[in-house]
């Protein structure tokens, strides 16, 4: 590989977290953004064609070297690394709501899920998956939550746009507009059964 690719590879290799494009660009001040992009391509190509145990993936606004999934089982069996725990349904639901409706207050999340959200929000904050991003209008100026770069990392997303669009879901997720009609329609029909 070329010198710049080797430098980038070393930097990506040294980091446990994705390395932002910006930091990659600063590794060699004399290299242009185009040169960096070309070097990243070179690394990715090399990993793919030459048969390596890892591959280069893009996450959030950065890049990360990860092992290929086919080796996970053997590595875990040999107890050299362990997969992280799964998130609970409650945590995933809360994250799903935050991801689509951010910035969103706790009361709204609780309204959608029908259960208290305080402890889960704290845990998500603790894990760095969601965080306070501002304050709402209205009474008590409620805290508003949003997703974080760690969220993208956790789900290996480049950006939130990679999640299904709201209108691709069975019913649009923004209920204020989308569901109103359906609900009204339902409301106008007299019940067929009780």
């Amino acid at each position: 590989m070329k010198p710049l690719a080797k430098l980038l590879e070393a930097a990506l290799f040294a980091s446990a977290r994705p390395v932002p494009n910006e930091a990659l660009g600063q590794l060699d001040p004399e290299s242009s953004a185009a040169a960096v992009a070309a070097a990243l391509d070179e690394i990715r190509e090399h990993y793919n064609s030459d048969g390596h145990g890892m591959e280069l993936v893009t996450v959030g606004d950065g890049w990360q070297i990860l092992t290929r999934p086919e080796y996970t089982e053997a590595i875990e069996r040999a107890q050299l690394a362990a997969r992280p725990q799964r998130l609970s349904a409650a945590a995933l639901e809360t994250l799903a709501i935050i991801a689509y409706r951010q910035p969103i207050g706790r009361a709204e999340i609780e309204e959608i899920r029908g259960v208290g959200a305080g402890a889960i929000l704290k845990s998500l904050q603790e894990r760095g998956l969601a965080d306070v991003v501002g304050r709402g209008e209205g009474m008590g100026r409620p805290l508003l939550y949003g997703t974080t770069p760690v969220f993208l990392e956790h789900f290996a997303l480049r950006h939130l746009g990679e999640l299904p669009r709201a209108d691709e879901l069975a019913v649009a997720l923004r209920p204020a507009q989308g569901n109103q009609q359906a609900a009204e329609q339902a409301a106008r029909q007299p019940p067929r059964s009780v």
């Binding site: 290929r68 996970t72 349904a89 409650a90 029908g114 259960v115 789900f155 339902a186 029909q189």
Partner: protein, 270 residues
Amino acid sequence: MTVAPAAPVTEQIYGVRGMRAPDRSSRDEVSESATFVVDLPEFSGPLDLLLSLIRDEQVDIYDIPIARVAEQFLARVSGMPIDAAAEYLEMAARLVRIKAQLLLPGPEGIEAWEDPRAELVRRLLEYQQVREVVDVLERLSDERRNRFSRTYTPISVQPAEPDERPLATSLADLFSAVDRVLRQARRPLVHDVIPRALDVDGAMTAIRTVLTVRARGCWSDVVMRDAEPWQILSVFLALLELAKRGEVRLAQRKPFAAVEFTDETISETP
């Protein structure tokens, strides 16, 4: 069938979701004996339970047979321990109310009739979308979990080499954090302490009264068997006070024996 202790569901951030579908089908077999054993983590809340009932019954979400669904919902909730069931009770009440509203004769103009189930349907549809997103997130997260990032950190270099990036955090940020902690912190447990002053004067009067009748009195003459601590303390302090003033003489026949008091004023002035 896995049985989980009644851990507060809301505090669980990790969980096993793969088991979900098979568990559902087998739940009915145990529901009768499930009074103290709960499969709660299966349901992430009342809407999840409701949606699952509707799915099991294969009914139209726009025309939910409320009576039947409410009955089953209540059956499931009654099998939960109280602290776990708390989050489901509001929904249970709502279902019962809707059922009652549907049974009542509607107003004259059918045009104006609004299905009491409409709001519930809206919430269920909204929740259903959340579940769809959760499926996507779950798949993405599983894919990511199957790849390892590099975790090696050279021990010799690490301690002195933290994240050196400059911080962008102001005093205002810190202060709004204080504000958040104060708002979010659990309310402090405040014990209302009812001030009940000791009635030393009252006890002194009682002791003097005993001594006007008899020359000698003992502890049980002035302290009732069921006396409260403040009463006992009052008598004790009153005795000490009277002794200090020279009105009574205190005596104990032996250690831990009952305290006896005699009228000092009488004995001094025969």
